[in-house]
Amino acid sequence: MSLGKEIIDDRGERNPCPDEAALIDRICKGERELFYDLVRPYQRSIYLVAYSIVQNEADAEDVAQEAILKSLKHIDTFRGESSFSTWLVSITVNTARMRIRKEHKRLFEPLDGDRDDEKGEYVPRDFSDWREIPSDALEREEVRAVLAKALASLPQQYREVIVLRDVHELSIAETAKALGIREGAVKTRLLRARLRMRDLIAPVASSWTPSRNWFKKGRRPWS
């Protein structure tokens, strides 16, 4: 997802570009209808951040709406120390977590055994070759379903990190700030989330690709 309105500084954090800062300034001075333009690029990813925590569509939509309305209500407290995007994600994460606590759901969600102990190592379970993603793979419902099921199976703290980092495309520093955790914890959780997603998807991914289209041996998909 493009967050092209922003400038990335040398700490890996996005700062509002002059256009976005000017837009926020005008909203604060009373041109509130401009808030649509400010928030529109982030609507989808804010919903997905909310969904990654509350895990159902109705609650995720409520949380996303509530978070975006809160950001409008408190826009005059935004100081530009982080990007608007990171600030909005923080509000969404907090709103979603409060929703879970309020409903007493998953409050003490356990990690999935020793493999998810952040002090231990994650050992990949599967070594299937998965070189290629066919360009039309995500047009297919069954592929999207595999991805959604794999993501849903992760413990909450891993879902939060992988969605902020790989869907919302926040930096490591921004993800740490939005979640209120250390950068080292972001990296650890991200590693486990990505490896576990791969373990779940790789064994079935070979069925997505006709054998004649496999990449030549030794070539990487991104090279």
Partner: protein
């Protein structure tokens, strides 16, 4: 230092995020060149990142944007 597979797995995510020092990067790439299992883990982990970032991967419910903009309209015009 010669990396073993466990050392490599711990760094795969950082490697893909370009968060490793050049010396470690060279060690990792030397290992990938001769280890089929770690190359499979690397390729698959990269593919997870590509899939997660694709806008087709996850969608919002039908009417989500319209309902959100209606809530915003009520808030903005209601004042």
């Amino acid at each position: 230092m010669v990396l073993n597979c466990r050392d490599v797995w711990k760094e795969i995510s950082n490697y893909l995020d370009q968060e490793v020092e050049p010396a470690l990067r060279r060690e990792l790439e030397a290992h990938f060149a001769q280890c089929r299992h770690c190359t499979a883990v690397l390729d698959g982990t990269h593919n997870v990142i590509v899939l997660m970032a694709d806008e087709r991967a996850f969608s919002v419910p039908i009417g989500f944007n319209e309902r959100l903009e209606e809530r915003l309209r009520q808030e903005i015009e209601g004042r």
